[in-house]
């Protein structure tokens, strides 16, 4: 798989159709994001996690947004898994990336990883390498819905009170690109003190993710307190789907019912 991807990137770099490719490299025994600009460097290319979700999956779209803001006229390639592609579609919709300036290089995740990530679409629409595997459904949300209301309350309050307000969940999320963040607004979240304001902190983030979250799970992986954040955002996404038939990141030309006036769009 990696050789096919190397070839693809090599091709893009050699005919100068992209200025660089945002991907991962192995350096000094660690995997980190890297912008490849020379074919010679491709020896270092890494695809990151393959068996289980670990610490080598990165929000490459977030790196791409930072670069695209600096070099708005240049075209960049980006390595994408299924989750990253959902992210790209969402970022196109939210005008954070220009689809004409992005060349996605997609690959499918192996089944083992798809299961470990509980991924709802473990492949991009048009993969360069790998075989498409089945989507995985998870039932953690239904488990919580099945509890009675007071149990649900204590479940979430126990979870939220573990928060150390590190902002890791926000910082790792490619869909969190705002220059000003409500979670830093002192009228909502008090500054310089712990415990964090609950449930305001976590519910504010959940509301803002309603039509954005692409269910990549990076936030939950990053959370040092193991708060099941993804389940919270799954719930907001589920409401969006039930009310408006909308799922963030599945269609390239998607429109969000939250960013328009008038009747809900056909999705």
């Amino acid at each position: 798989m990696i050789d096919t991807i190397k070839q693809k990137i090599s091709g893009l770099l050699s005919d100068a159709s992209v200025k660089g490719v945002v991907a991962l490299k192995t350096a000094n025994g660690h995997v980190t994001p890297c912008v490849f600009q020379k074919e010679d460097d491709l020896d270092m290319l890494s695809l990151g996690d393959m068996q289980a979700s670990g610490d080598t999956r990165y929000p490459l779209n977030k790196v791409l947004i930072t670069i695209a803001r600096q070099y708005p006229d240049d075209v960049f390639g980006v390595l994408v898994r299924g989750c990253d592609e959902r992210g790209l579609y969402t970022l196109y919709r939210l005008n954070q990336l220009d689809p004409d300036k992005v060349v996605p290089i997609g690959f499918c995740c192996p089944e083992e990883l798809a299961k470990a990530c509980e991924c709802k679409k473990p492949y991009p629409d048009d993969p360069v390498a790998g075989e498409k595997t089945k989507e995985i459904f998870q039932n953690r949300m239904e488990e919580i819905e099945g509890m009675d209301i007071s149990k649900r309350f204590s479940f979430w309050m126990d979870q939220f009170s573990k928060c150390i307000k590190c902002y890791g969940c926000r910082n790792i999320c490619s869909m969190c690109f705002c220059r000003e963040c409500s979670l830093e607004c002192e009228d909502l979240v008090s500054k310089g003190s712990l415990p964090v304001d609950i449930p305001v902190f976590h519910l504010t983030r959940a509301m803002h993710m309603a039509d954005r979250c692409i269910d990549c799970g990076l936030c939950e992986e990053a959370c040092p307190s193991d708060i099941p954040l993804r389940v919270l955002y799954k719930k907001t996404s589920r409401i969006m789907n039930a009310e408006f038939g909308f799922t963030s990141g599945i269609e390239k030309q998607e429109k969000s019912p939250l960013s328009m006036l008038g009747p809900a769009p056909d999705n």
């Binding site: 919580i144 819905e145 209301i149 309350f153 204590s154 479940f155 979430w156 959940a206 509301m207 719930k235």
Partner: protein, 47 residues
């Protein structure tokens, strides 16, 4: 979302009332007060 987190969803209400409709506003608030009285203190206040 409130319900999903174990907070009665009746505790939140959003209604559109024009500034010219004072009686409607009073009626709405009174009704809401009754609902809240029945629900008792919020679980959040006991945390």
């Amino acid at each position: 979302m409130l319900d999903f987190c174990g907070i009665e969803k009746e505790r939140m209400r959003a209604r559109w009332v024009s500034s010219a409709e004072a009686p409607e506003f009073v009626e709405e608030i009174n009704q809401f007060i009754n609902v809240l009285k029945k629900l008792g203190p919020s679980p959040l206040s006991m945390n």
